[in-house]
């Protein structure tokens, strides 16, 4: 089995506009996803909004701390799942079920060191 990280990228503005109702629906969708793929899910969390992000970059005089996410894009990392799958096809089949109505997900294989 291999492990894959499913990164959820979505528009934060869409959530802000959608309000409480949308938040509830998405919560339910994630619970359903969690039940359906319980055996494959090894971990996963939702993240606070990008406004709470702090980035640290290496500078000439040591690390520089700045406000905001690492890259400014329309769709931002909002959560992730760590899943286990036999191969990419199986991982993609699971990742297609991840709720991400205001964006999409990125599937990355976890590197293994032998």
């Amino acid at each position: 089995m291999s492990q894959y990280l499913v990164l959820i990228y979505e528009s934060e503005a869409a959530y802000a506009t959608g309000g409480e109702q949308v938040g509830k629906e998405v919560m339910v969708a994630h619970q359903e996803f969690g039940t359906k793929h319980a055996a494959a899910i090894k971990g996963g969390e939702a993240l606070q909004g990008s406004a709470t992000a702090t980035s640290i970059r290496g500078g000439a005089d040591g690390p520089v701390v700045t406000d905001g996410p690492f890259a400014e894009t329309k769709e931002l990392l909002g959560g992730y799942y760590l899943i286990e799958a036999a191969d990419l096809d199986e991982a993609l089949a699971i990742a297609k079920d991840v709720p991400a109505r205001f964006g999409g997900v990125e599937v990355r294989p976890i590197m293994t060191f032998e």
Binding site: A86, D87, L88, D89, E90, V107, P109, M111
Partner: protein, 387 residues
């Protein structure tokens, strides 16, 4: 042979190495022992054995072993896995790879072209192509793109990607995008091989039948498309030199492919090619039928190029002025901007209507836009004929 070896190694690079080593061993061993009864099978067995040795060695102490054992059950006769090449095609055409990489990998691994040959087919430098192939192979290995047939519910979508790659190989060969030759025979042959292989593996599939038919019917005109380095239009081709055998096979396949409703893209394109192939003379072409088929095609596979072809067919069926009206309706389409066939088609209709000044402008525009030397020469000849 490569696909049979990948089955054992599960690693494309290692499999390629093993195949090369098998050839090297053949060079020395066949000289002393003579040619084996089945050279192909001999090579495959040697390549697979080498692959197994390496994998076994590497697998010691790893958890790969149980996985391998399952695979080894079929080891004694790899010929019971004739679909290994098909699996290889599904890996190469996996949607997780870029379309460029899909085509390159298919040519490299399924057709066995060398990297410089693949590079030449797509007019990129050898280093660029080598990097593209390496990157794709790395992704297959690291993301674990599986060496297996897609699940049933995924099959139509995944097969569509495979067919598109085969079709792209064909079009790349049928009208080389740039350069001095109109046709690249090797690429056409490869696409024919691949579609025959698909047909063998999936005999009941209408899309596969449609694509094979399209390639056969289009390629049946190969001997007559160029004469003395000059492009010969459909109108002036010597139809007695069309490949009747290919046409007969293609027409049978079209009938089979069209039985499915709604008919799919390649089946419709093949049906159009069949209308041309079955007309004894250019004047006998059933242009209404061609226009109607393009009309259906536009609904299942909308593309400005299809609309353009439909406009041309309508012009042929109902007169050049009608064709011109249809073409002018497309003039603003941004997707057709820079597409040489639009001004070329306009020029033909304008010439037929006796509007020579306008025709001259359109021919000139088309000649500037095409990247193929043979096509450009044809357009410039037409321009010169107008004086």
């Amino acid at each position: 042979m490569l696909s049979a070896t990948v089955r054992v190694t599960r690693d494309l690079d290692l499999a390629e190495e093993c195949v090369q080593e098998a050839y090297a061993q053949a060079l020395t061993q066949w000289q002393t022992d003579g040619l084996p009864a089945k050279p192909g099978a001999w090579l495959t067995t040697v390549a697979r054995r080498r692959g197994l040795d390496v994998v076994r060695r590497e697998a010691t102490g790893r958890r790969l072993l149980p996985l391998l054992q399952v695979e080894l059950e079929g080891e004694s006769d790899y010929e019971t896995f004739p679909d290994d090449r098909l699996r290889l095609m599904f890996i190469c055409c996996h949607p997780a790879l870029t379309p460029d990489a899909q085509i390159a990998l298919t040519l490299r691994l399924v057709c066995g072209l060398r990297t410089p040959e693949v590079a030449r087919a797509f007019l990129v430098g050898e280093a660029t192509m080598a990097a593209r192939i390496t990157r794709a192979k790395k992704k297959i290995a690291q993301a674990r793109i599986p060496f297996k047939l897609p699940e049933r519910d995924q099959l139509p979508q995944r097969l569509a990607a495979v067919l598109d790659v085969v079709h792209l190989v064909f079009t790349a060969g049928h009208t080389a995008a740039e350069g001095s030759d109109l046709v690249r025979r090797d690429l056409v042959e490869r696409s024919l091989d691949l579609s025959r292989l698909l047909r063998e593996m999936l005999p009941g599939d209408a899309d596969v039948a449609g694509l094979l038919a399209l390639i056969l019917l289009t390629d049946a005109r190969r001997e007559t498309r160029v004469a003395g380095g000059k492009l010969v239009l459909l109108e002036n081709q010597d139809r007695s030199r069309w490949d009747r055998e290919a046409i007969a096979e293609g027409v049978t396949l079209v009938r089979e492919a069209l039985r499915r409703r709604p008919p799919a893209r390649y089946a419709l394109q093949a049906a159009i090619a069949a209308v041309h192939a079955e007309a004894t003379r250019f004047e006998d072409t059933d242009w209404r039928e061609v226009a109607a088929l393009y009309g259906i095609l536009a609904t299942v596979w909308p593309s400005p190029v299809v609309t353009l072809n439909r406009a041309v067919a309508l012009g042929m069926a109902h007169g050049a002025d009608k064709g011109l009206v249809e073409l002018d309706a497309l003039a603003g389409d941004p997707q057709l901007a820079g597409y040489a066939y639009l001004p070329a088609a306009r020029a033909e209709f304008l010439r037929r209507l006796g509007r020579f000044d306008d025709a001259r402008v359109a021919y000139g525009e088309a000649a500037q836009l095409t990247g193929n030397d043979v096509e450009r020469a044809h357009l410039e000849r037409r321009l010169a004929e107008l004086g």
